[in-house]
Symmetry: C2
Subunit: 504 residues, 2 copies
C-alpha cells in the first residue's frame, strides 16, 4: 500500500459514515415532523424522507460497500472493535441486500398504506376494513423474512434479529412461558386480595407549564444533560438520538394527573441517558448505536419503573412536586407510592401497569408466532386476541379498537418487535439487581437526589459499549448470569406483596 | 422507446429531485441548528451537513446527471418549462463541475476557517488577524470564479451569476452610478435640513411575548400562512423554505423598541410569502425556487418597507399595537410614521435605514470590483473602506469592527452577493409602482387590513413563475419597462420630502 492509499478499514468506515449520516438526517427530519413541522409540510416531508431512504438503501446494498466490509473483516483482529463493526455491517447489509428491489418497494408501499388504513380502521373500530391491508403487509413481510432468513423454515427469527440482533424464538419461548404463568398467578392473587388502591389523593389540577418544570427537574435530576438534549411537546412521547451530544425527548401531559407526563418523561429520559452515553469514538460506525431495542427499553424502564416508582426516589422528588403544586402539600409518600405500583388488568398495552404489561406482550408474541406458523389466519386474529385477553387477564375487549386494532406495529410490518418490550423488562431487572449488588445502598443516595453512581455504572456496563457486544452478552457480563426472568419476577413479587399484602 | 422506458425528461427530473432533496434536507438541518439544536450537537451537525453537501456535489457533477440534462435539453420544446429546467440545471451543474475537486475542497475549508477567524477578528476589532484567512478565501474564490467564468477575463461576473443569474457588472455599474449620486445628494439634503426626527415617543418597554403576538398578527395580516409556516426565535432573523407548504421564519427582539422585532418579522414574512407562493408543480426541479437573491430581497423589502412603513398600513396596525401595549395608546401615526422613515448616516449596514442602505452596498460593490481588478490589495481594504464611508456618508469608522469587519459575507467567500440587496430595492420599487398602477388605490385596502390584492398580484407576476424566467424579465414583464433605479429614487425622494420637507 502506498502511504496515501486508503486502507480497508478506513474505506469501510468512510462509506459507512455516509449511510449513517443519511439515516441521522432522516431522524432529525422525523423529529421535526413530530414536533414543529407545520401541517401543510407533510407531503413534501414524506417525499424528502422517501428520497433519503432510497439513497441510503442504494448505498447500503452497493457492491462498493459490501466489498469494503469484507476487506475490513479480513483485516480485522479477532475480537477488535473493527471486527464487531464488520460483523454488524455484514448482518445489516446482507439482510437488506437479500430482499429483491421489487419486494422492498412493494413492502414500503404496503407498510405506508397499512398505517393509513389502520388509522381509519381503528377510528371506526372496524377490523374488516383493515384486514386486506394487513394481509398484504403480512404476506410481503413474511416473503422478505424468508429472503433474509439463514434458516428459511424460520423466517420469524430473521425479523426478531432486526430488533434484537442474535435472538431466536427458541431462546425467547421458555422465558415467556415462565413469565406468563407467574405473572398471571400474581394478577389473580392481586384481584383476589380485595385490596383497591385509592387513586383519589393523586388527582387534581396540574397546569402544564408547572408539570413541565417538574418533569425537567426530574429528568435533569437523574442525569439527562440539557446541553446535549431537549424536551419538547409531541402527540406521542419518543426519544431520538442524533449523536451523544444531541438527544431529543418529547412528552405529553394530562391536566388532571401529573403521573402520565412524569413517567413518560422519565421513560424517555432513560432512553436519552443511553443515547447520551453511547461511545463518541464509534459514532457513524455500525457499533455506535444501541445494542438492541430490548436493551434500549431496559434503560427507559429502569429509570421509569425501578427508580421512578421507588419510595427512595420520592423522598427526593416529593418536595419538588410540592414546590410546583402547593395545593398537593398534603400528598405524602404513603398515599402516593401505592398508586405508582398498582396492578389492574386492562385492555390497552400502552396504559398497562408493570404488573400486567408482559401479559399484553405474551399475547402478541403468541399470535405472531401462530401467524408465521400458519396456525392462525389474519381474519382469525380478532377472535384469538379477545380469547387470549379473557384467558390471561380476565377481561374481554368490547370492540377491535380496544382489541387487535390498538397497536400500530403490525400495520407497519413490525412483526417481531413486541418481544423486545418484555426483554427490556427482564434486562432492566437483572441489571438493576446487579447494580445494587455492586453499589450497595442506592436508596439513601436516591433520597438525596444522587443518581450519578447508578448512571455511571450503566455507562460503564452498558452505554459505552454501543453495539460492540450483543445485548444479552452485556447483561450476562454485568450480572454474572445468563438473562432470565428471575430478577424481574422477584421484583414484581416484592412490589405486589408490599402493595397488596399477598405473597406469590 | 418501450412503454416502460424512462423518457429523457423523466430521467432528468428524477435525478434532479434527488439532489434537490439532499439540499432541502440540509436546509431543515440548518434551520434546526439555528433554532432548537442543543449546543453540544454542533460537531455532529457540522459533520452531517458536510456529508450531505458531499453527496449532493457528487451527484450534481456526475456524468449521469449531466447526460440526462443534455438529453432533456434536446427533447425540450423551445420556451417550455422543460427548456427552462434544463437551462437552469445546465447553468448550475456546468459551473459546479468546472471547479476542480481539489479546489472545491480547499475552498470549503478556507471558507469554514474564514468564518471562524472572522468572528474572532470582529470581536477584537483586529483586521490584521483576519487578513491571511481573507486573502486565502479571496484567492481561492477568484481561482474558482476563473474556472466557472465563460469570459475568463471577468471572473467576478461568474460570482454575480451565482446569486443573480444572468446579471453582469456591465449591467449593474450604471445603475449603481445613478443611485450613488442621487442618494448621496438626498442624504446631504436631509442632514442640511436641520430636521431631527423625535424617536422618544416610540421607546418604552415591550415584553417579548406581547411583541410576538403583535408580530404574528402582522405576519398573518399580510398573508403569511401559519398552517404552512412557523415563526421561531433565533440569534439572526432568516427565512428557510423547504416547500411552499413549509416555510420557517425567525425573529429576535429588543425589549425597549418594538420596531426591531416587527420590521424583522415583516421582512422575513415577505421572503416567506414568496416561498409559500412558489410553483408547487415545479418543486424539486431547477425552476422550483426563487429566480434570484435580488428578487427574493425585493419581496422582503416590499412588505417591510413599501407596505410596513406606509401610513396606510399603520391605520390598520396601530390599533393592534395599542391592544398589545396599552401604555402606548397615546402613540399616534403622526409621531410614529416619521420614525419609520428617518434618514441618518450610520456605520453598520444591517442597521441602516432605507435612505442610506444602498450607499453601504455601493461601497462594497466598488471594493469587490477593485479587488477582482487587482486595483486594490486585501491589506488596503480597511483604509479604502473608511475613506469611502467618509466620502459617501460623511462618517468614518473608529475601528474595523464597525468598518470592514462588520459583515460575514467575504469571510465565507460570498463575493458578488452584496449587489443583490440593492437590486432587490430597485425591483421592489418598480414592482410596487406597477402594482399600484394595476390595482388602483391600495392605501384604503391596507387601512382595512386587506393585503390580499397586492399579494395575489405578486403571486401572479412573480411567485408562481419560480425560476422559469430571469428576475429582470419578470420585473420587465410586470412593469412594462426594463429594470432601472427610477421608481426607487422617486419613492425615496417622496419620503424624504414628507419627513424632512426638502425637495431633491
Amino acid at each position: 500500500l502506498s502511504p496515501t492509499a486508503e486502507r480497508p478499514a478506513e474505506r469501510f468506515l468512510r462509506l459507512w459514515s455516509e449511510v449513517a449520516d443519511l439515516g441521522k438526517a432522516a431522524e432529525v427530519l422525523g423529529w421535526d415532523q413530530e414536533t414543529y413541522m407545520p401541517p401543510k409540510g407533510q407531503a413534501a416531508r414524506a417525499r424528502l424522507l422517501g428520497t433519503l431512504a432510497a439513497l441510503r438503501h442504494e448505498r447500503m446494498v452497493s457492491a462498493k460497500l459490501r466489498d469494503a466490509i469484507e476487506a475490513a473483516a479480513q483485516a480485522a483482529e479477532p475480537a477488535s472493535a473493527l471486527a464487531a463493526q464488520a460483523r454488524e455491517a455484514r448482518r445489516i447489509v446482507t439482510k437488506l441486500a437479500s430482499v429483491p428491489t421489487r419486494l422492498a418497494r412493494e413492502l414500503a408501499e404496503a407498510r405506508s398504506n397499512g398505517q393509513a388504513v389502520w388509522q381509519e380502521a381503528r377510528r371506526e373500530a372496524d377490523f374488516a376494513r383493515f384486514r386486506p391491508a394487513l394481509e398484504r403487509v403480512f404476506e410481503l413481510t413474511r416473503e422478505a423474512a424468508q429472503h433474509m432468513a439463514l434458516d428459511a423454515s424460520n423466517p420469524y427469527d430473521a425479523l426478531l434479529d432486526d430488533y434484537e440482533p442474535g435472538t431466536t424464538t427458541a431462546e425467547l419461548a421458555p422465558l415467556f412461558e415462565r413469565l406468563r404463568a407467574s405473572l398471571a398467578a400474581m394478577v389473580q392473587a392481586v384481584v383476589g386480595s380485595g385490596v383497591v388502591v385509592d387513586e383519589r389523593p393523586v388527582r387534581g389540577h396540574y397546569p402544564p407549564e408547572r408539570q413541565l418544570a417538574f418533569c425537567r427537574a426530574a429528568a435533569e435530576g437523574i442525569g439527562f444533560d440539557f446541553e446535549a438534549g431537549r424536551l419538547d411537546r409531541a402527540v406521542h412521547p419518543f426519544c431520538s438520538g442524533f449523536d451523544p451530544g444531541d438527544v431529543r425527548i418529547t412528552w405529553r401531559w394530562m391536566e388532571e394527573d401529573f403521573r402520565s407526563g412524569l413517567f413518560g418523561v422519565l421513560h424517555e429520559a432513560g432512553h436519552g441517558l443511553y443515547e447520551q452515553g453511547l461511545p463518541r469514538e464509534w459514532q457513524r460506525t455500525p457499533i455506535g448505536d444501541a445494542a438492541s431495542m430490548g436493551l434500549h427499553e431496559s434503560q427507559s424502564r429502569l429509570w421509569e419503573n425501578q427508580v421512578g416508582r421507588s419510595r427512595a426516589f420520592w423522598r427526593w422528588a416529593l418536595p419538588l412536586l410540592h414546590e410546583q403544586f402547593p395545593d398537593k402539600r398534603a400528598l405524602g409518600i404513603d398515599e402516593l407510592w401505592p398508586t405508582l405500583n398498582a396492578v389492574q388488568p386492562s385492555l390497552i398495552r400502552v396504559e398497562a401497569d408493570e404488573g400486567t404489561y408482559d401479559l399484553h406482550i405474551a399475547i402478541r408474541f403468541d399470535l405472531e408466532r401462530a401467524l408465521f406458523a400458519d396456525e392462525l389466519a389474519i381474519d382469525e386474529l380478532p377472535g384469538a386476541w379477545n380469547d387470549a385477553y379473557e384467558e390471561l387477564l380476565g377481561i374481554r375487549p368490547a370492540n377491535d379498537a380496544e382489541g387487535v386494532l390498538q397497536d400500530l406495529h403490525w400495520s407497519a410490518g413490525a412483526f417481531g418487535y413486541f418481544p423486545t418490550y418484555t426483554l427490556g423488562n427482564m434486562m432492566k431487572a437483572q441489571l438493576y439487581t446487579a447494580a445494587r449488588r455492586d453499589l450497595g445502598d442506592l436508596d439513601s443516595a436516591f433520597a438525596r437526589g444522587e443518581f450519578a453512581p447508578l448512571l455511571e455504572w450503566l455507562r460503564d456496563r452498558v452505554h459505552r459499549h454501543g453495539a460492540r457486544f450483543r445485548a444479552k452478552e452485556l447483561v450476562e457480563r454485568a450480572s454474572g448470569r445468563p438473562l432470565s426472568a428471575d430478577d424481574h419476577l422477584a421484583a414484581r413479587a416484592a412490589t405486589v406483596e408490599a402493595v397488596y399484602g399477598v405473597t406469590v
